[in-house]
Amino acid sequence: MRSEDYEEYLECSYEIEGRDFIDAGIVSSQIKKGLKSKGIPESIIRRIAVLTFEAEINIISYAHQGTIRCYVLPDSVIIEAKDIGPGIEDIELAQQEGYSTADDAIREMGFGAGMGLANIRKSSDTFEISSVPGEGTYLKCVILLNGK
């Protein structure tokens, strides 16, 4: 199912620039506020805050630019993160906790511990990732409103 097919209840979309660490967290914070205003339960919002922050940091750390979209449906919240960038060569390896290709600048800020994708997976009910090296990465997370 493509995102265009959803019968939208709420949709928001945010652009993110690669290497813009100064604004890191702004998108997650906006999504969190939007979900709060929609009356989504706190425990669900907390999980979504973790996964959107990690997706945001991944785009900033590795991609040239990207977009995070949030859809609120009657029974679930869907977060999509799509970027234009180097992509991921080995997706299995990238999901292993502790594996990271982060450079020193990223690590000095306390990122790049190789926990990002694992945190995203753990915070989602369904998690899909696909990537084309040299083109970019696509991530889709479904969080059920009555899940976990």
């Binding site: 660490f21 969190k32 940091i57 800020m109 306390g110 990122f111 511990a113």
Partner: protein, 114 residues
């Protein structure tokens, strides 16, 4: 226990959002890896860290931490302080090392909770 009480007992210097020092602290988390803190800390925690760049404010705000204690006398930059002020996150500075801050904090928070 409030942040204000913790600040007094540990001689912390508050750098932002004094208005939120009355907030109740329900627990604590220590860590310098932001993904670890994102995954494992809880709302209402006081977060103890040696990181000082402005992304600590984004993490604390998203996780709804009561405040941040920066250890080892590290001084957050002006941009970090301004962001914390805007987000309503108190940043408190301790001259002590992380291990000592966490040890004292643990005693204080959990003995107060019985």
């Amino acid at each position: 226990m409030t942040l204000e009480t913790i600040a007094e007992k540990l001689s912390l210097k508050c750098k932002s959002s004094w208005e939120n020092l009355k907030k109740d602290v329900s627990g604590g988390y220590a860590g310098d890896l932001l993904s670890d803190v994102m995954a494992n800390s809880k709302a209402g925690d006081v977060w103890v860290t040696r990181q000082v760049h402005q992304n600590i404010v984004a993490v604390a705000a998203l996780k709804e931490h009561a405040g941040i204690i920066v250890v080892q006398g590290a001084i957050p930059g002006k941009d970090t302080i301004e962001k914390a002020q805007k987000e309503g996150i108190p940043i408190l500075i301790s001259e002590l090392p992380e291990f000592e801050v966490v040890g004292r904090l643990y005693q204080m928070i959990y003995s107060a909770q019985g």
